[in-house]
């Protein structure tokens, strides 16, 4: 039954995709009315004005561009024109750096908050205040104080992936079952040992869920951050192609961003499953 359902799901997915591509193709195929113009004038104008082609590219055009990118993902034509593979590598490197720094900060603080009701009360107002701030709002401040644009982007990733991890860690640690802690107390287990052998395994699924949310947000934010700062990365790629009003390249970038985001999410989903246990 389960396998059958999966198969049916896949078929419906494919049908939806085909339907979407068909509608897209039809919608962009249309040719608008064109004004009469002298050939001399027409030579100076773009296809949208001379042939009335839609400014929105069709799926075939986008597919052709995608193939082109996949064939040459790592070309390097100077500092402002690099292949999509290189741009992705820059973005992933930035996200990973900021994210790992956030893990290093969030886990200890989360444990502290979860284990100490006093610290929980004390830090709560700060977290509540800073959590809803859009990470990009930090950007001007970061640029001004850190004085380095790529470090600023990393800082923005750090700050945006911090909160979900922090809150989930604190929550996971705080909601470890009383009985287990009581058993530990009965056996006179030390604080450090209690944290590592009882709380950590018990809270691990919640913590990893927090990490999974964080990586998603980090990947969302990097694109916006790079569009803002420019230079390198997939966000810069989108901005640069927008600059040229090349919608097919923007759509391709969207696809690639989606695929990478999905991969990152899948990895953490696997990890979460690995640390989850049946009671």
């Amino acid at each position: 039954m389960g396998r059958f359902l999966a198969l049916r799901g896949a078929i419906v997915s494919l049908m939806l995709l085909a339907g979407f591509l068909f509608v897209w193709h039809q919608a962009t195929r249309g040719v608008a009315a064109v004004q009469a113009m002298s050939p001399e004038y027409a030579k100076l104008m773009g296809a949208a004005a001379t042939q009335g082609t839609s400014a929105m590219p069709g799926p075939l055009e986008v597919g052709a561009k995608l193939l082109e990118h996949l064939r040459r993902p790592f070309y390097d034509n100077g500092p402002n024109d690099k292949g999509i593979g290189i741009q992705l590598a820059y973005s992933i490197a930035r996200v990973m750096t900021g994210y790992l720094l956030a893990v290093l900060a969030a886990l200890p603080i989360g444990f502290l908050i979860g284990m100490s009701p006093l610290m929980s009360r004390a830090l709560d107002p700060f977290i509540q205040l800073l959590k809803p701030v859009s990470p990009l709002a930090w950007m001007p401040l970061a640029l001004y104080t850190i004085k380095d644009s790529s470090l600023s982007a990393i800082f923005v990733i750090f700050i945006c992936s911090l909160w979900p991890m922090l809150i989930n860690t604190a929550f996971g640690v705080a909601s470890v079952r009383r009985e287990w802690l009581n058993v530990a107390r009965t056996l006179e287990v030390g604080t450090l040992r209690r944290a590592f052998t009882i709380i950590l395994p018990a809270a691990a699924p919640t913590i990893l869920t927090g990490m999974r949310i964080s990586i998603g947000i980090a990947w969302l934010v990097i694109v916006a951050a790079e569009m803002l700062v420019g230079g390198t990365g997939i966000g810069y790629f989108v901005w640069n192609e927008w600059n040229n009003l090349s919608i097919s390249n923007v759509i391709n970038a969207i696809l690639v961003i989606g695929v990478v985001g999905m991969a990152l999410d899948l990895i953490l989903a696997r990890l979460t499953r690995a640390v989850t246990f049946q009671e």
Binding site: Y41, A55, Y144, D148, S149, G230
Partner: protein
């Protein structure tokens, strides 16, 4: 008088149309007739064309001595170019000055990063890289595309960039501490003159009178930009209050065409290739070229921090020479096609070649079905006239961007480095000439840099 013209040419035309002698309709006709009549060729031509920065120094000195072209002409006519050169050299050693300027001490820093915004105003800065002008002066320069003016400002203040392409009001604003903390900033060269336009959405093609623009939403690249001041000036001259009757917002140039297509804005005063791109995509038409508001107005600038200028003088000199060289090259109409091809690829402007070519050659589609030919639609002239700076500050004052008293001349002198020549003159033991200013006409109204406050007060629509 342009910086690249031979300053000792008494016959060089005063007005921008017609020929040198005034008897022909164009310089070409004049040359044609000259070819038909027998003439003695001068034995030795001064080689200004070959060493244009020498030309720039000489030009500047002459200009400083004779701020009015007519006076210079009268002087040259009465004594002759050779005597004039000798006379000028006598109390100002031009050779020494150009040598000091051309001196190549060891370059302190070879690898430089220069930021730019992908618009044709940046042409000299960009093309100097693919066309080898930086390399020629021993520099290894990376030109980095940047997302917006605020970012380019921050990255330059951060020292991620050694120098940058800025809007000419920006170094003034940074130095004055308007919109950022005050940091001494310098602008050794203007990059381009003219080269902007007012583009309106194609749906407004019948509303050519600015009086019918009430309620329009306009975009300009930045608050501290010539675009903002020119647009405000233009509509105010037509009785429209730019703060009350229309909306003006800052939108990065690359996003303007997309916004125009989406009907978010009704038009913009923007740098090219944005205007031409809007035409190319059939979403807008060119209402007015900025040269029709103020012919030969400055737009973008090559800017560097004062720290860089004084801390690495040889690097700075080499860089400035590259830029002046590139600007001189770009000023020649016959090179414009090659330049368009060099700067159009994705690494630089990322635009179709034909769009860039239309901007640079001045033969362009206007979006209403006409092909227009305006060869000086964009032009390149590096000399940073102080009076430009003073005009910009009068507009900052007029629209309330700066409050209180402004020491116009002092700031202009500090920022607009016409002082490079002045510095060389001081080194040679001479008092630099008072005037690096000229008067000019904006929409029929003459601007006198000596009386900026009166100028501000002379406008009916103003915020002070």
């Amino acid at each position: 008088m342009s910086t690249f013209d031979d300053p000792f040419d008494a016959n060089r035309r005063l007005a921008s149309s017609g020929c040198a002698c005034g008897r022909h309709r164009s310089q070409a006709e004049h040359a044609h007739e000259a070819r038909l009549t027998l003439q003695c060729a001068p034995v030795e031509q001064p080689r200004f064309a070959e060493r244009s920065y020498e030309g720039v120094v000489v030009s500047t000195v002459m200009r400083a001595m004779f701020p009015k072209d007519a006076a210079r002409r009268a002087f040259l006519k009465s004594v002759g170019a050779a005597t004039a050169l000798a006379a000028v050299s006598q109390f100002f050693p031009l050779k020494t000055a150009t040598e000091v300027f051309a001196e190549t001490g060891p370059i302190e820093k070879k690898a430089l990063k220069i930021g730019f915004i992908p618009i044709t105003c940046a042409t000299p800065i960009i093309m100097a890289q693919p066309m080898g002008f930086y390399a020629k002066h021993g520099l290894d320069v990376e030109v980095i595309k940047t997302a917006g003016w605020a970012v380019i400002r921050d990255k330059t203040l951060n020292k991620e960039y050694d120098a940058a392409h800025m809007l000419s009001p920006m170094p003034l604003a940074i130095t004055l501490g308007v919109g950022s903390k005050p940091i001494p900033y310098t602008m050794p060269a203007v990059e381009n003159i003219n080269g902007q336009a007012i583009t309106l959405s194609i749906k407004h093609k019948d509303k050519r009178d600015p009086k019918s623009w009430k309620g329009f939403k306009f975009a300009v690249p930045f608050d501290y930009s010539m675009h903002n001041y020119l647009l405000r000036y233009y509509v105010a001259e037509h009785g429209i209050d730019p703060d009350a009757d229309i909306q003006i917002r800052a939108v990065p140039p690359p996003e303007m065409v997309a916004n125009l297509r989406a009907d978010n804005i009704d038009g913009f005063l923007a740098p090219d290739p944005v205007n031409q791109r809007a035409v190319y995509d059939g979403v807008g038409f060119i209402h007015l070229l900025s040269k029709e508001i103020w012919d030969r107005h400055p737009c973008c600038a090559f800017a560097a921090s004062q720290e860089f200028v004084t801390g690495a003088p040889n690097t700075y000199a080499a860089l400035l020479k590259s830029i002046i060289d590139a600007t001189a090259y770009a000023a020649k109409a016959e090179n414009r096609k090659a330049i368009a091809e060099a700067i159009a690829p994705a690494n630089f402007l990322n635009q179709p070649v034909t769009v860039v070519e239309q901007v640079l050659t001045g033969t362009f589609a206007d979006g209403l079905g006409n092909v227009r030919s305006v060869p000086d639609r964009i032009d390149f002239d590096p000399f940073p006239w102080r009076s430009f700076a003073v005009w910009i500050m009068t507009q900052m004052k007029r629209w309330g961007q700066i409050k209180g008293d402004v020491d116009y001349t002092a700031v202009a002198e500090q920022v607009f480095l016409a002082t490079d020549t002045a510095k060389l003159m001081r080194e040679a033991g001479l008092a630099p000439p008072e005037s690096t200013s000229k008067t000019f006409v904006v929409m029929g109204k003459t601007f006198d840099p000596v009386a900026p406050e009166d100028y501000v007060k002379s406008f009916a629509i103003r915020r002070v």
